[in-house]
Each structure stands twice: as C-alpha cells, then as structure tokens.
Subunit: 267 residues, 2 copies
Amino acid sequence: MAAQRGEGDGVVTRPQGTSPAGTSPQGTTNSEAPADVRERARAIPEAAVARLAVYLRVLSGMVEQGVTTISSEELAGAAGVNSAKLRKDLSYIGSYGTRGVGYDVEVLVSHIERILGLTRKHSVAVVGIGNLGHALANYGGFPSRGFPVAALFDIDPDLTGVPVGGIPVDHIDDITTVCAEREVSIGVIATPPQAAQAVCDRLVSAGVQCILNFAPVVLQVPDYVEVRKVDLAVEMQILSFHVARRADEAAGDVVNGIGVDGVVIRP
Amino acid sequence: MAAQRGEGDGVVTRPQGTSPAGTSPQGTTNSEAPADVRERARAIPEAAVARLAVYLRVLSGMVEQGVTTISSEELAGAAGVNSAKLRKDLSYIGSYGTRGVGYDVEVLVSHIERILGLTRKHSVAVVGIGNLGHALANYGGFPSRGFPVAALFDIDPDLTGVPVGGIPVDHIDDITTVCAEREVSIGVIATPPQAAQAVCDRLVSAGVQCILNFAPVVLQVPDYVEVRKVDLAVEMQILSFHVARRADEAAGDVVNGIGVDGVVIRP
DNA sequence: TCAACTTTGTGCAAGCGTTCACAAGCGGTA
DNA sequence: TACCGCTTGTGAACGCTTGCACAAAGTTGA
Ligand SMILES: NC(=O)c1ccc[n+]([C@@H]2O[C@H](COP(=O)([O-])OP(=O)(O)OC[C@H]3O[C@@H](n4cnc5c(N)ncnc54)[C@H](O)[C@@H]3O)[C@@H](O)[C@H]2O)c1
Ligand SMILES: NC(=O)c1ccc[n+]([C@@H]2O[C@H](COP(=O)([O-])OP(=O)(O)OC[C@H]3O[C@@H](n4cnc5c(N)ncnc54)[C@H](O)[C@@H]3O)[C@@H](O)[C@H]2O)c1
C-alpha cells in the first residue's frame, strides 16, 4: 500500500512525508523528443511541486495586474520563500529567465501549467455531500483552476437527484458508471470516517487514481493510487504544539528570571 | 515575516516547507526540572509532530476498542508509516515502551497529548461564515478533540447575531474584544482571498498567534505568529502533476514499445 | 565597443529527515 | 538461574532540501 502525503508534510505536511512510494519500477526509457521533459518531470522534488503551484497562483495574479516581467526576488517575496529556493525550483522546469531582467510572467505561467499537467482537464468527483461536501461542490475555486466538479455522490437517497452547485447528486452505487462516463480523474472523500475506506475502495475500482481525503483516517490503497489528505484536526494540533512550546519557553525564561532578549511573545 | 507551512509539504506537507523561520533566537535556558521537556519539545522535527498527531488519532481509536498494548509494527501499519520512523518519532518524546512487549496505549496517548499541548484548551475563532465557514462551525471534530469553537465572525450585517452550530456570529469589528473575552488562541480564516490579509492583521492585533488559513493567499505575519495553510487548489495541482508524470511515463513506454513490466496503470 | 550593473542558474556544503540494522532490555520458560 | 525470542531505542549512513555564493549572461548607457 502506498503511503499518503498531505499538509505539513505541512507539512504539511506538509507537508511532510515525501518518499515517492514506488509508483513504478524505473523503466529505462530512451525515446528522443519527450524524454527530457519526462526525465525532468520525474526529477522534480515533491516539495518543489507544491511550491510551483503557489508560484503559479501568484503569477496568475500578476498577469491580471498587467505585470509582464518579474525578478526572482520579487516573486519570492510574493510567494513567501527565499529567492535562491525559487530560482532552484524554476530551474527544475527549465531555463526560462533572462539574466539581468527576470522572468516573463506569461512564459513562466505556461511552463508551470505544462509541468503540473494543467493543460489537460481533470474532472473531480466529490463523495459525501454533507456540510463539507456542500461547501466543496459550491466552491468556485476548483472549476476556475481547471478542476471542474463533474459528479457528486452520496448514500442518502433523499439527496439523490438534488442539484448542489448546479450538479445533481448521484447515488454512491452508480459511482463506477458515472465516473467512467464523465472521465473523473480525481476523487474527493468528504464522508464520515467510518465510510471513508469503503468509498475509497469504490473510487479505486471505478478507476480513479488520485484521491483527496478529508476524513480523518489513514486510507489503504494500491501503490498506483495517489492519496493526499487534508486533516484539520492534525493542523490544529500542530498549532497547539507550537503554542505549548512557546509557553514552555516563556515559563522557563521566567523561572530563570533571565528574560532572553529578542524573544517577543506579544510585542 | 515568518514563512507559512502547510499541506504537503507536504506533505505535505509539508509538507513541504519546513524551516523553522526564526520564531525566536535560541535563548540558552538552563533551569533544572522542566528544562529537558522543553529542550525535547523544541527538538522535535515538524514532520514528526504532524505524525504524532496521526498516531494519537489511531491510538485513541485503539483505546475505544479496548486495546491496551501495541507494538511499533502494528501501530506503524495502522498509521501508514514505516515502523522505524514510528519508533524514532516516539523516541523524541521519551522512552515509554517496553522491549519485548510494545507500548501501553494509554500511556502513549497521554504523553503525546502532553507534548502536543492538548492538556490545555485551545479556543478557536472562525472568520468568514460563508460556505466553508458554515461547514467548519458545524464540524464536530474540533470540539471533540479539544478545540472548542468559541467565536464566529463575518462582515455581513445580515449574519451578525445568527447562530451557526450553536454560536452566534459576531461582527468582524468586535474581533478584538470578543477574542480577548473568550481567550481565543487559534484563528481560522475562511473569507474570500481579498479580505484574508486584512482579517489576518486584525486577528494578530487581537492577540491571536496561531492561524489556519483557507484562503489561497500568502499571508504576511510577524515572526512570532504561526501560520498554517490549507490550499485545496494546490493539493489538486499536486495530484494533477502525478497524473501527468504517470501519463508521460506511459506514453514514453508505449513509444518505445517496451511496456516496462510491473507498471500497472490500471490493473 | 566597452564597462558597469543587474539578475539568472547552479556547484557545493550544511542541515534535516528517513531508513537500516543491531545492541540492549524485557518477559516467559525450563 | 540461564536461556530464548521478541521488541524497543538509537547510532550511523544515506538521500533529499535548503541556502550561499558566484560565474555566466544578459541589459543599459556612454
Ligand atoms: N465539516 C467540516 O468542516 C469538516 C472539516 C474537516 C474534516 N471533515 C471531515 O469530512 C467528512 C465529512 O464531514 P461533514 O461535516 O460534511 O459530515 P456530514 O455528516 O455533514 O456529511 C457526510 C455525508 O456523507 C454521506 N455519506 C455517509 N456514508 C456514505 C457513503 N458510504 N457513501 C457516500 N456518502 C456517504 C452522508 O449521507 C452525509 O451526507 C468527515 O469525515 C469529517 O471528519 C469535515
Ligand atoms: N468553499 C470551499 O469549499 C472552499 C475550499 C477551499 C478554499 N476555500 C476558500 O475559503 C474561503 C471562503 O470560501 P467560501 O466558499 O466559504 O466563500 P463564501 O463567499 O461563501 O464566504 C465568504 C464569507 O466571508 C465573509 N467576509 C467577506 N469579507 C470579510 C471580512 N473582511 N471579514 C469577515 N468576513 C468577511 C463574507 O460575508 C462571506 O460570508 C475563500 O478564500 C475560498 O477560496 C473555500
């Protein structure tokens, strides 16, 4: 079973856990034209991929503001990273900058989109149309970024046929046919935790190979399926850890009566 | 400004970006009793903290099932990690296992809770009671894990006073007084992206030092504030990247007519 | 054309995090 | 008590990620 990644791995983490759990044994390929692109894509570190998505969002904003050129320093500032890291990240996808000038925003956007596979459409299915499922189905941020929500599923017969965010809910039992019909490539699990593994299994047998899981459970999937998880309780607990650590530090400083300079708990 | 961590960095996380951007200069503390606990807490890698939260969830399930003792191998399986990693993670918080036997589930639970700071209560405020905010306010998983939702805020006057999930929504202008009154320690941002930085600034001046951000923006905060972000579009794009990579590999293999054995795209 | 200046792309070293592998320690058994 | 089998805890090696620092490569202006 493949390990799943997410948040802090923050993360998160990712996240966060980042070993590319044997998606495939390295087949020595040696075709001519697309080979370098493939090799390159394969070589991009997971951490860099996550940041590329962030750069893409920032750059899209820049395009809308009419910015045509940007330096690594500026982009790094806007994305909240070190500029050396940014340049290294961009170097994984090729050399598209101009020394002395910076990067052409549109060129960069199109190359990042290419690397992230955003030139294809990725239809999304949401399973579990409860509180969270409703929010996801209504969320405009998915379709606008190339991830149209194409199907909704629930086990509750009262929901079947009811349109949410413009799409009628299908019964979970129809998952295989509907997913095939609408070419769903990403499944989102928003069911109660008890149902998550079963739903996951059904998604996998329906041919879905990418899963985003909101249920607080560790899903078991075959190696060829990619799972990412979003676990809000875990996020909260990481924040809690930092609160505790900071409180302990403060307590220690008070005990010592030292009052370490530079530490500002609340300025 | 502190960098913010989240997802995958995954693995996330990171999850992902994981450098402890100078929350404080290392003050050399040397008090006696609690010093080792503090030193230890400080030394736990972020990635390990995220996993400890997962172990805790799994262990809580075990307690309910009446399991009293568990080996690293079993727990690792249930948490989806390698058993060596699990043991190392647990070693960061101390030596509470019994060689030849395993770990006492309840002992482990209480120590992880202590390290994660879950012995204190962490009140949560949600800002932006729209689609997502409603789901979060109604989510039972927060209070049940020691994160009571104590306040809700929105800018929409029509929402003010309306109870959501049992708590009446307050106007964003009252954020400082209400947060102080209810001792809010974690702020959750679920507003549109345009409003996120302003909301973040208000949370920070209200004394909130931990922020969980759902808006797709990079927040700028002072060093002493801890930000974690949940960015669903980024998660989707990471999944998309893997689809693309896999498709490229498959294409390459087909071009070569090799058909690398062991690669199962869809079994 | 040339020099001064700006910014990219990257080799390299240091720092983390993961994994291996095994000694140390514990419980059970004869 | 002495032995055996099992499981923990961790030193050490490895590999990924980060950040520095600088040569290479471009622009601008004279
Ligand atoms: N609400 C939140 O803000 C939030 C936050 C974080 C995580 N989560 C997690 O997301 C999941 C959903 O949360 P929610 O608050 O929307 O719960 P919910 O109870 O409101 O909704 C769950 C939905 O799933 C459906 N369902 C149940 N079993 C199913 C099955 N086998 N197949 C298909 N559908 C099924 C139910 O009919 C219901 O409509 C939970 O696992 C929860 O822990 C929720
Ligand atoms: N809905 C989702 O499933 C989803 C998923 C991922 C990310 N997000 C992100 O979460 C955020 C919220 O999404 P949503 O779908 O709930 O949006 P929404 O429009 O339904 O809700 C936003 C709410 O924020 C309130 N608001 C606006 N400005 C405010 C301010 N200055 N102070 C306080 N409140 C303010 C609005 O009145 C509204 O109630 C967005 O940034 C979105 O990108 C949403």
